[in-house]
Amino acid sequence: MTCPLPLAQYPRVLLAHGGGGRLMQQLIEKMFHAAFGNTDAHDAAVLDIPQSKLAMTTDSYVVRPLFFSGGDIGTLAVNGTVNDLAMAGAKPLYLSASFILEEGLEMETLWRVTQAMRAAAGAAGVKIVTGDTKVVERGHGDGLFINTAGIGVIEHGFSIAPDQVKAGDAVLLNGDIGRHGMAVMARRENLNFESDIKSDTMQLSETVQELLAAGVRVRCLRDATRGGLAAVLNEIASAAKLQIDIDDATIPVDPAVKSACEILGLDPLHVANEGRFVAFVSAEDAPLALEIMNRHTPQKNAARIGTVTQGSKGRVTLATAIGGRRILDMPSGELLPRIC
């Protein structure tokens, strides 16, 4: 599929594509409406929402490179916001999509990104109903930034939040960690690993909806994005004022990700994911929950990685591979490869 005329007359984004005139109108109609199927051209979308509790979230997406193994910025922009809604136990319905384009961006690139967004929205069962476009001068953006906001409905009766977590709860992970961060780093830094590491980006909404429909007593959900698994566990331990004990040997890590992390001196527990989440569920529901998670994770390696205990408030401990135990701390800032 290629970029449609008349956009093809403009192989690159011009400042005029954000200027409010004919070019911008063409871009919206031929690019965005064609991909997302909008009909109304009003200032705001009018939505039909069944009477219930709503969840709303927003996130901005900046990633370099725009395309990487297993995904791209458009897929992330849809899945990321869908997943944030899913983590609140909401069924995602509608997204907005705002684009900040850098003058000179290849129109073909924008086309590929919007098509990827269309596919991701379709897979997650959400509609992209409104949006915005701005163009910034060349050199003032990184090609393309996307912001999406999302609205979802909450159809179940219970609260899904850190304060619901109880001592004795099982800590579940829906699949192996570290793929996304390493896929992006490999592409950005031109690191050629023997085997291709693909981003794990995927929508988590179906998994969560199925967990809830099956009656699994879900206490808290959190996707393990920036900061990785270590950050998520620390956030929830602090908010729940409980201790979380994790067993390193049970955390699935793909051998290629493990090798890449070893070479660069990074800890897979600190590396970002885009299709992985931690679920705190009552211990008796853990086997059923894992079965459901494995139906949706292509690698089928969901695992119970630990247990919530009274212990000391906000602490996360990790049983090491050789039988020691240590604190699993929050990663601090930017991941920097070690010297040797």
Binding site: E189, L191, A249, P255, K258, S259, E262, L264, G265, D267, S312, R315, T320, A321, I322, G323, G324, R325, R326, I327, D329, S332, G333, E334, L336, P337, R338, I339, C340
Partner: protein, 364 residues
């Protein structure tokens, strides 16, 4: 994973730990020299498996930690120059200089880039002939062959816009400095395996003879470290002092000869300042006259003002094995990985950062 999981096997680890327990009758203080070993010890909780009589102290072998503050300040001045692309290994970027760090220089518009090999920096110089490309050549003997190769390549290929800011240090003089201190507590060493892949281990023989301490060349995986400790404690218990090689899958006695030849062509031994410790004679490398044209310190006009390190920071004593991180009054309070007072809190290999990350909240 091949050659990784084998060295992290829980059953074998327990067997080694039991064997260490069996032969240990007296208290011993053993220093692992390399920051990579410190990192593995805390990351895998190795101390949990050892008898209480065994006290592990953490050595000066973290290149990021011992790079002196004035060298970081020089790097910051060079990196901020508009004509410069400044290349560094990742973890040098967060090391605090007197007032700033390289991450802040980058945020303020300096062109600071992370590279994975100094040869990438030479390639960058070729690609950007209008720029000055400077590589921050820090590290021990381990990183020296690649750094020497980069300079050699730039010279033979005439890449004139490439230079290196050299802050290379050497392991054996640091070990001697520790042993000759009146406050020394170290009774045995796990020598740094990767340093020995380059240099071999002949140079430890005089140290062993003079100070009567066992030195065991040791790898970096949990089982390497446990086996290295076993070999070291066995010597201590028998009253022996010899150089032994645990890391025989990677280290030969004479080391990597072609690498050593290149190093001795590009570098010469000079006195070097160590952060937190001070100057140690004959403890580092600088460029030889043949390659002096590639010295960033000569190419750029940089101030040579002596810098003071924060007085609260005891990183020097930590690096000498005389104190543990948690014995520092600033540890975890005014000094954290987000706001490090000393470099031992910065690098993942630094003892303070490793303790903070993995053992925070525990008693010293």
């Amino acid at each position: 994973m091949k050659y990784l999981d084998e060295y992290r096997d829980a059953d074998t680890a327990r067997k080694y730990a039991a064997a260490i327990g069996d032969i240990t009758t007296k208290p011993w203080t053993i220093m692992e020299v390399c920051g990579g070993q410190t990192h593995a010890i805390v990351r895998f909780g190795i101390e949990d498996l050892l008898p209480e009589k065994i006290n592990l102290v953490h050595g000066p072998g973290c290149p990021v930690c011992v790079t002196p503050v004035e060298m970081v300040d020089k790097a910051i001045v060079i990196a901020a120059l508009p004509e410069v692309i400044f290349c560094s290994f990742g973890d040098m970027l967060r090391v605090p200089g007197t007032k700033s760090d390289l991450l802040s220089v980058r945020a303020a518009g300096g062109d600071v880039r992370i590279v994975y090999s100094p040869l990438d920096a030479v390639a960058m110089a070729r690609k950007n002939p209008e720029k000055q490309v400077v590589f921050f050549a820090v590290g021990f003997e381990t990183t020296a062959p690649a750094n020497a190769m980069a300079v050699h390549l730039a010279k033979t290929e005439g890449v004139q816009n490439f230079s290196v800011l050299v802050s290379h240090v050497l392991v054996p003089p640091a070990m001697e400095s520790i042993l000759s201190s009146p406050q020394n507590k170290v009774q045995g060493f796990l020598a740094a395996g990767h340093v020995c892949t380059v240099m071999g281990y002949k140079e430890y023989a005089p140290i062993v003879q003079k100070y009567k301490v066992p030195v065991v060349v040791t790898g970096f995986e949990p089982l390497d470290i446990l086996q290295g400790l076993y070999m070291c404690i066995r010597q201590l218990e028998k009253g022996r002092a010899a150089v032994e090689n645990q890391y025989s899958r990677a280290v030969q006695e004479s080391g990597n000869m072609p690498a050593q030849e290149l190093i001795s062509k590009v570098f010469r031994v000079i006195p070097r300042k160590w952060r937190g410790i001070g100057e140690i004679p004959q403890s580092g490398w600088g460029l030889t006259a043949e390659y002096a044209a590639f010295d960033a310190e000569k190419r750029f006009d940089i101030a040579h003002a002596a810098r003071e390190e924060p007085t609260e920071c005891i990183s020097g004593l930590v690096l000498l094995g005389q104190k543990k991180p948690a014995q520092c009054p600033a540890f975890g309070k005014t000094c954290t990985p987000e706001h490090p007072l000393g470099a031992t809190m910065v690098s993942g290999e630094g003892a303070c950062a490793a303790y903070y990350r993995y053992r925070k909240g525990e008693a010293a």
